[in-house]
């Protein structure tokens, strides 16, 4: 099997793709409950199958302003000890089959933030589709890397 099925996503003007096998569920527009003092990239929490799901806002990770309007939430399952989490994107376009060898690794000129988030890119005829690896977008991992949005409490500390 030389093809992989990729779910393509839109965030801002960018096109992104995630391997469909890694996605548990795609939910329609839900506005998660904001958590005060949480880091900016945490969009909030929402009820999901009797659990509280923490969601990550992909726009915030890319440094884009959050927007009002429809969105999609992708739910990823936890690996080993990790918890489930959701990723908020602007929309899901569809599923496409791509050749494995059209994947190119991250170029060396990428900035540190992008290096952390992206996992190579597929060369499509219409342009590049950036591949995402859900395990890199895990809230715990984002918190460790400390590259993304300071939490509100640190900001408050500065103000004082």
């Amino acid at each position: 099997m030389n093809t992989v099925s990729i779910c393509s996503l839109r965030v801002g003007d960018g096109l992104f793709g995630i391997d469909t096998r890694q996605i548990r569920e795609v939910l329609g527009t839900i506005r998660p409950q904001r958590v005060p003092l949480a880091p900016e990239y945490i969009a909030g929490v929402m009820p999901y199958r009797g659990e509280v799901l923490t969601t990550v806002c992909f726009r915030a990770l890319l440094g884009l302003k959050s927007r009002i309007g429809s969105n999609c939430i992708l739910v990823f399952d936890g690996e080993q000890n990790e918890e489930r989490f959701g990723l908020i994107v602007d929309g899901v376009s569809g599923v496409i089959a791509l050749q494995r060898d059209s994947l190119e690794a991250n170029p060396s000129g990428l900035d540190a933030r992008s290096m952390e988030l992206f996992d190579g890119a597929y060369k499509l005829l219409s342009g590049l589709m950036v591949r995402l690896d859900p395990s890199r977008l895990r809230p715990s991992r984002l918190a460790e890397s400390r590259l993304f949005g300071r939490s509100m409490q640190e900001k408050q500390g500065e103000q004082r």
Partner: protein, 706 residues
């Protein structure tokens, strides 16, 4: 069996206990022989013959004997574990119990010889090897995963589930507009509540299950550390959720270990300090306002706060200024910081600096809290507070900054509504702190929306608001919110680790309308807002009876000054002024004379559905009846100090004059009949029955003053 053995050590003459242990070992031997476990049978046989000798009175119960029997038990236990794991008795062919069996035999024969030759001495080579630390802590893992449930309870649960299914079917067929819909919804509500109740009940386990492990552990530890320790229990029947019971097991073990290793002094030191050689560790469990409190109280040396401060500075956890500023209570809580230990030397049992911080982490993981109280020379108390169940808590939902938050009812004290017209005057400022005058005290205010960095919904002073007076972990403050929703029973869901790290949310819950609300951790919220801990008014140390000299301490306490019925020689027509400790007075009541009734010639009063006797010194009642116009008598409702259970007595007084701080004067030998107190530079006589109330609670009183 473990319990029996440790009991046996305390009461060596009890033949009942011996027979009980004997029967247990005998049963093991019988069944294992039947099942073909030869190794187990051999060991059990050796034990049985030793116990047989004991039962027939050929042996006397000694420390060594008990140690031997406990080792036998460990041996049996480890074989059983092996069987559980591998299905066979031994993992290796070389595994055998010859050494242990030989030891047991030797114990039997050796004791025989000893009994004939030197009844009081043990033969050489029979020195007990203290059981190693590792042995004590091995806990069988499979035990924790199973739970015994009464079939009765299970049947009831099944019935309720059946009911639930039926109701669901009816609801599915019905429509929200239908006439019977409200009825169905109500039934669903009932069934859910009942089902929840039975599941909870099934999960409840008495604390005694957990406590039963301790006598053995304490005994072994005491031998290892060279202390004499007695363990006592209270509240074994207190129920606690199974999962919570497991969660507090380790912290509790740790706390007990600490109490023995660091708390209780060696016997010589204790005797020097005027205490009995045997130390007491009290394990106490009880329900309190929706949570279970578990206390480990020892009557050991206590923790010196100055020592804690120096240690903390040494370890670089604090600057010396910070250390000086801390209150006693805060300094004590330093013990819970990571890498902190006041132990002078590291021992095998505890004192490696990983200790109390682990206790706290474990307890907090299940939503509990840990506090520590200590008085030098009197002892230490570790108090763990854990919620009754993990799953469901009553809470009040409040709105602030356009979001909902849940406050656990357990930390809610009262609610205050500040209407719009008073909003501006209600809040007073002192420096940067905002305060509210609640009755006589000042309450620090915390604006929830500002603290959380939310958009304030309206300018303060322009709109009405609510103050939720909350208290947790010694912090008491008013949480200002925009609105209150109805109280709800919320189902607590854990948050992911990153959100837990924010520190002030203990979980989240789904509300009735389907939205999520975050649950506020009251103590952490207060700490973040900078509300300081106020030392708790009630000391625990007095719970352990200490024989320490207390009379020499000069104490101050609040006293009620009243005019008694007795006429003093100097006061002319007025009654003598007397003092009564405020702690003994429950209420001051004004009672119409008509309500005072007589039974068998004695005056009694009906007070809160209770009949309490009236004490009327100097016949004030009679006097008042004679005088026209005075229709009410002033009565002090007091708790009788000596009685075990709280019995009340009402004391008739002419009038209550004042409540103020007074100092109890040292008992004078000449005037030992009367206890005198100095109140506002005037000497008052303390009511004789209640003088002891002050004397017996020195720690409490001193702390109040400090």
């Amino acid at each position: 069996m473990e319990r029996c053995l440790t009991e046996l050590e305390k009461r060596p003459g009890d033949s009942e206990l011996v027979s009980e242990v004997f029967r247990a070992v005998h049963t093991i031997k019988g069944t294992t022989g039947f099942l073909g476990y030869n190794r187990l049978e051999r060991l059990a046989h050796a034990g049985e013959s030793l116990l047989g000798a004991l039962r027939d009175g050929k042996l006397a119960v000694t420390n060594e004997l008990i140690s031997g029997l406990l080792r036998l038990m460990d041996g049996l236990h480890s074989i059983l574990q092996t069987i559980e794991k591998t299905g066979t008795e031994s993992e290796q062919a070389t595994d055998n119990d010859d050494a242990l069996i030989a030891q047991l035999l030797q114990l039997k024969d050796g004791e025989f010889v000893a009994k004939e030759a030197y009844p009081l001495h043990n033969p050489e080579g029979q020195k007990p090897k203290p059981t190693s630390h590792q042995d004590v802590t091995t806990v069988s893992s499979t035990h924790d995963k199973t739970l015994r449930i009464d079939v009765e309870v299970l049947n009831r649960m099944m019935n309720q589930v059946g009911e639930l299914v039926l109701t669901r079917n009816q609801i599915l067929r019905s429509t929200p507009g239908a006439a019977d819909f409200p009825e169905l919804a109500r039934r669903l509500d009932n069934v859910t509540a009942e089902l929840r109740e039975s599941v909870m009940r099934a999960r409840m386990q008495p604390m005694g299950h957990l406590f039963s492990k301790f006598p053995r552990m304490v005994r072994d530890l005491a031998i290892t550390c060279g202390r004499q320790v007695r363990i006592e229990f209270e509240g074994q029947e207190t129920g606690l959720d199974k999962s919570l019971l497991e969660a507090v097991r380790d912290p509790l073990t740790h706390a007990v270990r600490n109490a023995i290793d660091h708390g209780i002094e060696p016997p010589e030191e204790r005797l020097k300090a005027g205490k009995p050689a045997e130390g007491v560790v009290l394990l106490r469990a009880f329900h309190k306002s929706g949570s279970v409190v578990i206390e480990v109280i020892d009557d050991g040396a206590g923790i010196s706060t100055s020592c804690v401060r120096t240690k903390a500075v040494e370890r670089g956890l604090l600057t010396s200024e910070q250390a000086d500023e801390m209150s006693e209570h805060e300094a004590l809580q330093m013990i819970f910081m990571t890498g902190f230990s006041t132990a002078k030397q590291v021992t095998n049992i505890s004192g490696r600096g990983i200790g109390m911080d682990v206790v706290r982490a474990n307890v907090e993981m299940v939503g509990g809290s840990v506090e520590l109280e200590s008085a030098v020379g009197l002892g230490t108390a570790v108090r763990m507070r854990v919620p009754l169940t993990l799953a469901i808590v009553p809470a009040l939902v409040v709105r602030s900054g356009g979001q909902c938050f849940a406050l656990p009812q357990s930390s809610l004290v009262e609610l205050v509504y500040v209407p719009q017209r008073e909003a501006e005057q209600a809040v007073e400022r002192m420096g940067t702190t905002q305060l509210y005058r609640l009755r006589k005290g000042l309450l620090p205010l915390v604006w929830l929306d500002r603290l959380l960095g939310l958009e304030p919904s309206a300018d303060t002073g322009k709109a009405d608001f609510y103050i939720a007076v909350v208290e947790s972990d010694g912090r008491r403050y008013g949480l200002v919110t925009d609105d209150l929703n109805a109280p709800e029973e919320i189902v607590v869901k854990p948050l992911s680790a990153e959100l837990r790290d924010i520190g002030i949310f203990s979980g989240a819950t789904v509300l009735g309308n389907g939205t999520l609300a975050l649950i506020l951790d009251i103590a952490a919220t207060g700490a973040r807002a900078g509300v300081r801990q106020v030392a708790e008014e009630v000391g625990v140390v007095d719970a352990v009876q200490t024989q320490a000299e207390t009379a020499q301490i000069v104490m101050e306490s609040s006293m009620v000054i009243y005019e008694s019925g007795m006429r003093g020689p100097t006061d002319g027509g007025n009654g003598e002024q007397m003092a009564m400790p405020l702690s003994a007075v429950e209420r001051i009541e004004s009672v119409p004379l008509s309500e005072i009734e007589y039974a068998g010639g004695r005056a009694v009063l009906q007070y809160r559905e209770e009949l309490i006797p009236l004490e009327d010194e100097g016949d004030v009642l009679h006097e008042m009846r004679a005088k026209e116009g005075s229709a009410t008598a002033t009565v002090l409702i007091c708790l009788r100090p000596k009685a075990q259970t709280a019995t009340r007595v009402a004391m008739v007084v002419r009038r209550v004059l004042d409540v103020s701080m007074g100092k109890l004067l040292a008992t004078d030998a000449a005037a030992c009949e009367q206890q005198l107190a100095m109140v506002n530079h005037r000497v008052k006589t303390v009511h004789r029955e209640y003088a002891q109330t002050i004397a017996s609670t020195p720690a409490t009183v001193l702390r109040e003053v400090a």
